[in-house]
């Protein structure tokens, strides 16, 4: 069987991003393999360990994505295909380009992150399924293969359901699917020798980003003085937590 993880490279959550001329400036950010995609990489490796076959990494993005691809190979995937294009591409256009490469690979299972860490887009997995005409299971927390079919558990808004889907199919990940392994040192050394097939593409984005901004969060700095009337202060605190913060 063949298992594919579609991955992206995103800024580390601890990176400080800044806006330069209406664009997010990534030049000083640490870029990593998206943690939601990391679940996908772990899952394809586990599927391969269990069912044999091949685990393949597929990425679409600028040249710099190669570092994230190497990380996925160091975790244990067999080889990679990197569709190279600089600049922004909307998820639908990405999915169309990826679908072409995926069709040629003819995998049984495609996994990708449920949500891209930086832009919060959840579109890629379902868009790939749509482009391929395959079923999709989103927010997957458990995945088992049996007799050419998959049994998957996935999160709903306030609950979960277990489904059976025919293969090939696309699955998007959710936290809890697995515990991704570290790329080991021997894995890092072996990854150097693994194949990354680079395919330059020139897709035209259907969406153009005109301007980007980062939400500034500032604290309200509300301080309740409990020294004079602690009872009143406690009541006020409870009222604020209940009515304004809405946490209790």
């Amino acid at each position: 069987m063949k298992f594919v993880a579609v991955i992206r490279q995103v800024p580390d959550s601890e990176s400080r991003l800044k806006i330069d001329a209406g664009r997010v400036d990534l030049s000083s950010a640490t870029l990593i393999l998206d943690q939601m995609d990391e679940y996908a990489v772990e899952e394809v490796i586990r599927l391969q360990e269990k069912h044999g076959g091949e685990s393949v990494i597929v990425a679409l993005g600028p040249e710099r994505f190669e570092e994230a691809v190497r990380t996925a190979l160091a975790m244990g995937a067999d080889r990679a295909i990197h569709l190279v294009q600089e600049g922004y591409l909307d998820p639908i256009t990405q999915a169309e380009a990826l679908a072409e490469a995926l069709r040629a690979e003819a995998p049984d299972v495609v996994l990708t992150g449920g949500q891209q860490a930086d832009w919060d887009s959840q579109a890629l997995g379902p868009a790939i399924a749509e482009a391929l005409g395959w079923p999709v299971v989103t927010w997957t927390t458990a995945l088992e293969l049996e007799d050419g079919q998959a049994r998957a558990k996935h999160d709903l808004d306030e609950g979960a359901e277990v489904v059976r889907v025919s293969l090939p199919a696309v699955f998007t990940t959710q936290q809890g699917l697995n515990e991704p392994r570290y790329p080991t040192l021997p894995g890092i050394m072996k990854a150097k020798k693994k194949e990354i097939r680079k395919i330059p593409i020139s897709a035209a984005s259907k969406v153009e980003v005109l301007e980007q901004s980062i939400q500034e969060r500032s604290r309200l700095g509300k301080v309740l003085d409990g020294t004079k009337d602690p009872h009143a202060a406690a009541s006020e605190l409870i009222r604020l937590l209940h009515e304004e913060a809405k946490v209790i």
Partner: protein, 381 residues
């Protein structure tokens, strides 16, 4: 292009791995193991799992054959998480190095197998209760008896001594001959007559196990002799010339942690109506820290590079070790100063940095011994 400061992709990847390991696996539990003075065996197992343990063992013996530069890159990252915990793999490399330098093919096969097939540690036993810097004055006796050496004596301050599968023990077959009478013997865990007592009450680096080793008529196969009789002192010195470079790397990592903690605190803490980071008195301290970190790292890399090139490096290792450990001591000290009263408390991580880094000025040759090595290098020219 004679000078190149860039890391290879592979080195960047292993740096990333070690950094992530330190952040996710070491830093969150460091204070707890420090308080309990307990060896974090689950971390040793995980280090083995990702290949960061005993990785200097050559590939033909089941290791990864990492060079000194790779070791230094990893060392800085792990020590950022906890210097005491980093001392465990570092001291294991210290135990591996004499076997690497002087062991036969058969000995390497036999001992390295034990250190690669499962999470396991090595140790290096030179110091004794009555001698440290004057290594040639050691008293542990080895008497040849047929195919064995019979060991009697006591070693102390031995990192990993009680956990280690193999301990390289330095003993004398003739105390009168001083350094010419020294032999290096590999003693395996569980050898009858060999006992390890854990030393309690350390100031810092409390997650690393430090032991007193007692040998009472301990019979060690003569097949475990590294090199030949009389080689021991040279083996010990050549080992330390290499292994004090990772001490420098650990110091750099610890100093980097001190700077990060101090920076974070200085931006948050307010005095006179503004963050203390806005005061020059604080800014100068932070700047001094970075000056120290950058220069110590650059020099540590240089010492590692000399080692990997097979060039003379004893003086460079000594400079790196003494300079980096003193720089890091000052960085930890200033990080506490910036934290004020909070820095003196266990709740903040900076007091531990100072307690931990003190040992970097003492072990693997005190900084005074490093200066003797450096002076000898100057005067022998």
């Amino acid at each position: 292009m004679p000078i190149d400061f860039s890391l290879t992709d592979e080195q960047k990847e292993l740096q990333k791995l070690a950094r992530r390991f330190a952040r996710e696996q070491i830093a969150p539990v460091a204070a707890e193991y420090d308080a309990r003075e307990e060896v974090p065996w689950p971390i040793i197992e995980k280090l083995h799992g990702v290949g960061l343990l005993n990785a200097i063992i050559p590939e033909e013996y089941g290791g990864l054959g990492l060079g000194m530069l790779e070791e230094v890159i990893i060392g800085e990252e792990l020590a950022w998480g906890c210097m005491g915990i980093y001392t465990i793999p570092m001291a294991s490399d210290l135990g591996i190095t004499p076997i690497l330098l002087a062991g036969s093919h058969e000995q390497k096969q036999r001992f390295f197998k034990k250190l690669t097939e499962k999470p396991a540690l090595a140790a290096f036993a030179l110091s004794e209760p009555g001698n440290g810097s004057d290594a040639a004055a050691l008293r542990t006796r080895a008497v040849r008896d047929g195919d064995y050496y019979v060991l009697n004596g006591t070693k102390t301050w031995i990192s990993n001594g009680g956990e280690a599968e193999v301990v390289v023990v330095f003993a004398t077959i003739n105390p009168e001959a001083r350094h010419k009478g020294v032999i290096a013997l590999v003693v395996e865990k569980g050898t009858p007559g060999f006992k390890a007592n854990k030393l309690h009450g350390k100031m810092g680096q409390r997650a690393s196990g430090t032991y007193e080793l007692v040998f009472e008529d301990c019979r060690v196969p003569a097949a475990n002799l590294l090199g030949k009789e009389g080689d021991g002192f040279k083996i010990a010195m050549n080992t330390l010339d290499k292994t004090r470079i990772p001490v420098a790397a650990g110091s750099v990592g610890l100093a980097r942690r001190a700077l990060e903690e101090a920076t974070k605190y200085a931006k948050e803490r307010e005095a006179f109506g503004r963050p203390i980071a806005e005061f020059q008195a604080i800014q100068f301290k932070l700047a001094e820290m970075l000056m120290g970190i950058e220069t110590a790292r650059a020099y540590t890399y240089y010492a590692a590079w000399l080692t990997d090139q097979g060039l003379p490096q004893a003086h460079a290792a000594a400079i790196a070790k003494a300079y980096a450990s003193e720089m890091a001591f000052e960085a930890a000290n200033q990080a506490i100063q910036i934290h004020g009263g909070y820095g003196y408390m266990h709740e903040y991580p900076v007091e531990k940095l100072l307690r931990d880094v003190k040992l970097n000025q003492i072990y693997e040759g005190t900084n005074e011994i490093q200066r003797l090595i450096i002076a000898r290098h100057i005067l022998s020219g």
